[in-house]
């Protein structure tokens, strides 16, 4: 009888430990945010986004680290995964953000990505982890 009680306690302790370990592990190694699954908090043109940051004097970074949707013309394709939109916003695509589509100068694009902040050396806004939404 006593051994049965003992076994029950051991099993319960082990189960609690396993649950605790699971939560600790998932807290410590939670996955990175997935931009394509998050919805954008704002939709605007590249020019408008750049002006918001430029006029904020670099102090108000309300969009920093937020997911936004930006549209405009591609002014330059810097590298296979980097484009400039209207010369005002630099967009770095995620490794799978392009889905094999090709980008050309002058095309209209809409992208969704994480706004990193304002680069006051070049006076551009940087967006990374982007996914292509529309490309014409």
């Amino acid at each position: 009888m006593k051994t049965k009680k003992y076994i029950v306690i051991v099993v319960m302790v082990l189960a609690l430990g396993a649950i605790g370990a699971f939560f600790t592990y998932s807290y410590m190694y939670k996955p990175h945010r997935n931009v394509s699954e998050e919805s954008a908090i704002a939709v605007m043109s590249a020019t408008e986004l750049q002006e918001r940051f430029a006029n904020a004097n670099g102090t108000l970074e309300s969009f920093a680290d937020k997911i936004i949707e930006v549209n405009g013309h591609i002014t330059t394709v810097e590298q296979s995964t980097t484009i400039m939109v209207d010369g005002k916003v630099q967009v770095d695509f995620d490794s799978h953000g392009l889905d094999g589509k090709k980008l050309v100068n002058g095309a209209d694009v809409t992208v969704k990505g994480r706004c990193v902040g304002y680069d006051d050396l070049l006076e551009i806004v940087k967006v990374d982890q982007a996914v292509l939404i529309n490309n014409q």
Partner: protein
């Protein structure tokens, strides 16, 4: 009389602006500069982050270099580490960027070749609201109209008033190794 002076100085200003624009071929720019920093300790989890969207501008006439990295652009393998880095250590909401501005010493861009040359850079690194002088050797070479700059240096968190809590102090190296790799294209 004063008005006349103003009118006379206007063309001068325009001329200055024009000559500035005319010097654009001295500018080399990289918008996708790579910066990696690492503060790993043996036996503990890797403390390492990387950005591939740093900006660097080199003016080969005055031999000045300026670089800017948005702190939120640094990515860690471990997302919780990235969160703690941004919120508790570097406070990226208050101090969103890290900048470096400096001068390449005894540098002559016309003498650059495809084989790397050692160039000393001297400048100020600014982050977390603090400034520190950094002097290090860079390896510089030129292929076509692209100047490549590679280098590394060490800084300490306390130089920038970044406080590491006691509980994690032995998991984070006292010195942070910063590596940079810029490919600057002539503009």
């Amino acid at each position: 009389m004063k008005k006349l002076k103003n009118i006379l100085s206007l063309p001068l200003i325009i001329l200055l602006l024009l000559s500035y624009a005319g010097n654009a071929q001295n500018k080399y720019i990289d918008k996708n500069g790579e910066i990696v920093f690492e503060a790993s300790e043996k036996l503990f989890e890797e403390v390492k982050a990387e950005t591939k969207s740093a900006t660097a501008i080199l003016d080969t006439e005055i031999n000045k270099i300026a670089s800017l990295a948005l702190v939120k652009g640094f990515r860690f393998k471990n997302s919780l580490m990235q969160e703690h880095f941004n919120e508790n250590y570097i406070e990226s909401d208050t101090y969103p960027k890290a900048t470096f501005s400096g001068e390449l010493l005894d540098f002559d861009s016309s003498k650059l070749t495809e084989s790397p040359a050692d160039i000393m850079v001297d400048g100020k690194l600014k982050l977390h609201g603090k400034e520190k002088e950094v002097r290090t050797n860079l390896s510089v070479y030129k292929i076509g109209n692209t100047i490549s700059i590679k280098g590394m240096f060490k800084v300490a968190p306390e130089d920038f008033a970044i406080d590491i809590p006691k509980i994690v102090r032995n998991k984070i190296a006292k010195e942070v190794l910063v590596q940079l790799n810029f490919k600057l294209v002539q503009k």
